[in-house]
Symmetry: C2
């Protein structure tokens, strides 16, 4: 029987990878329905009827159709592995996951994502690197990682608690690419952030998802074929 869950998108997208990692970590069976960005699969009416914003990923879980990677991750965790969202089940644990998920979304991912874009993608798509944008975002990210270093010197995981949470997992996709830039030293030189990242990337779910995320976003291969 086909799995009840279908994830639509290209897995090298950090947004698709976020949803995939949560599905893998939850141990639920799902089917990854491949799509092509180049072919414009995200702009056809059938896909727009699933997500009117025309973005990946989309998750179908039975009758339910969801979009936005962090919302998908929350749904999967709530239904299939609630401790990712609420730790020991106390209000304090759930609130801590929410706080650090928001920190990821509002403080971390913008700065780290901009560095990934400039240092990896801009070259691949022939846009050229905007070093001023890199510098500005490296300065921002440095301050964010200083807070993480202080936090992680007292707790093994961002939200505290005894196990990994969605707040940690949500960082994985952008971090995976970020660590392939020359700014990876920003993580290496902060021992608690480094230990946290080593654990995060070392889990079987992360290793599996990373296998779908080539450093060159698949663009290098295409370049070679041109």
């Amino acid at each position: 029987m086909a799995p009840a869950l279908k994830l639509y998108g290209w897995a090298m997208s950090p947004f698709v990878a976020r949803a995939m990692l949560c599905l893998e970590e939850s141990g639920v069976e799902y089917e990854l329905v491949p799509m092509s960005r180049e072919a414009g699969d995200h702009r056809v009416p059938d896909f727009l009827s699933k997500n009117p914003f025309g973005q990946v990923p989309v998750l179908e879980d039975g009758d339910l159709t969801l979009f936005e990677s962090r919302a998908i991750a929350r749904h999967v965790a709530r239904k299939y592995k609630p401790e990712l969202l609420s730790g020991d089940g106390s209000p304090a644990a759930a609130a801590a996951v929410d706080v650090w998920m928001e920190v990821e979304a509002q403080q971390h991912s913008g700065a780290a994502g901009a560095i990934v874009f400039q240092c990896i993608l801009a070259d691949l798509i022939g846009a050229g690197r905007d070093q001023a944008a890199v510098d500005e975002n490296a300065a921002k990210l440095g301050k964010v990682l200083d807070v993480y270093e202080a936090r992680l010197s007292g707790t093994r995981y961002l939200a505290g608690g005894a196990g990994v949470s969605l707040a940690d997992l949500s960082h994985f996709p952008i971090m995976r690419y970020f660590m392939d830039t020359e700014y990876a030293a920003m993580v290496e030189e902060r021992p608690h952030v480094k230990a946290w990242w080593e654990e995060l990337k070392g889990g079987p779910a992360a290793i599996k998802v990373a296998g779908f995320m080539p450093r060159d976003f698949g663009l290098g291969k295409k370049k070679a074929e041109e």
Copy 2:
């Protein structure tokens, strides 16, 4: 007895207003602890011990100290008015709130917030308006509001369901300022978005919070005093 909940910040900040609106909507007693941005109250060690990122708002709920406005709103709703987060309690209802909260955060607030900044704040702080940035964000927001118009033609609230949810409420603070710009027509000309906004701003909680949010962010008064 003093309320167990304390909200720190300046209420004209859309982020503080988001937390306040959720507190008001939940009917829980709280104390608004005023702070001054000009005096740098958010940079003193006592405040940084509450939020290491030095941003408002912070919520103290008994022993719990929380930051990031959407995380605060989730905690308040979960503890004091769960239907704001989970509607009728079904997995589908909770997932829909998550999806449309993420849409607010990822699609709506960046574009609408940039227009507010350029059309109101840039003038007040003497930076001058960047019309290219306004145009770019108005184009983005137009597409987002087209999706909202289609969505709201089928459901009264963004997440569906019988009542307002955190997904609707979370839009209020930026929308309140946005509707004071000349781009308010983008809402007025979309009948379902307009009806949704009229209902959202017309509630007693929204009216109370809006009272703390002068169009000039309090800067006009200061200008007049100079």
